[in-house]
Symmetry: C2
Subunit: 189 residues, 2 copies
Amino acid sequence: MHAAADLADERGTVDNLQLVELAERLSVRTPSLYAHVESLEDVRRGIALIALADMREILSHAASGHSGADALLAMARAIRSYAREHPGRYSAGAAPPRDKDWHEVQRTVRAVFVTVLARHGLSDDDATEFIRALRAAIHGFVTLELQGDFGGPDRAASFDRIMRILLKGLLDEFPGLAAERRRLRAAST
Amino acid sequence: MHAAADLADERGTVDNLQLVELAERLSVRTPSLYAHVESLEDVRRGIALIALADMREILSHAASGHSGADALLAMARAIRSYAREHPGRYSAGAAPPRDKDWHEVQRTVRAVFVTVLARHGLSDDDATEFIRALRAAIHGFVTLELQGDFGGPDRAASFDRIMRILLKGLLDEFPGLAAERRRLRAAST
DNA sequence: GTCTTGACCTAATCGGTGTAGGCAAGATAC
DNA sequence: GTATCTTGCCTACACCGATTAGGTCAAGAC
């Protein structure tokens, strides 16, 4: 399954993953794969689960040592890095296998965000909104970037700037993060 | 080609479009399609061009009568509506056919944004950044929403809120839009 | 009236997924 | 130590969808 994920990364997206090629990579005939996986769909699902597990891992890691807006920015960067290094895994994790396992792991990923936000006084409902905004912006940027939609070479700076702008706006909007808001503003002057 | 676009919309994304099915829809055998199109890829490309032309149309329409932040919010909403009504077309337009025609039409879509921003004093470089942020957020939200990633029923409100937050942040960030910034702030109190 | 052209057809190829059934070697049971 | 079970692979094959080759037929051009 790890081999499949690597191959998906090389192909750029999980949609371009082929069992034929995976079999070749493993020096095995295609039908032999069916001893280990159910179907191509099943492989994609497996990669998605790997991706989400990775995601939880790197997000926790990124958040640790920072707090509030710093933590969130670090997390956003971590997601972008992951997507660039593992486009196949990322695309699988973001795509809709949508089974029970997927939802379960997805919840644990979400929990990392919720934890960071809750530590700073954001209610669960507000956190939902906050996370939606963040996910949308990150996922949109990353997707367009991977597709080659953004021209310039300064995309990392662009990403940072956008995230900072969005975070500042979000902190202005949601009560309970006054301290963070103040800190971010001080840092940006 | 219109029929193909409609079918793609019904299937939810251009990736799920099949020539077999298209032929069936047109009461024709599959190979007969090749008198009219080059390949499946070609059909997808055609749908992408339709989508971008539509996009330019609805964006111009949305922008007219508004200015600045209002115009941008209206445009964002228009894109979301379009994506919801025509998921197949939208996905085609956003995906990477990336040929000369595509880039040409894409430029005209971009021009609508640039025009709105320029009318209010934003330089071309700043506009690039501004548009990146907006596109990323809109595309990300819309993509995740279409995938069924957002639970609640209040997604339109969520979208509006996020766009407002982002726009406010962007207006704070970029000089040359002072008037707009003031207006938006007044409106939000 | 023949010729061209366009829109359609059938037959067949190709690449990719998935199924059926067999074979060999190591693990395990007795 | 032999019988059996399991595991992992194989070949052969069915199936599906895209695409190609080549033929038919009718309507309009000359």
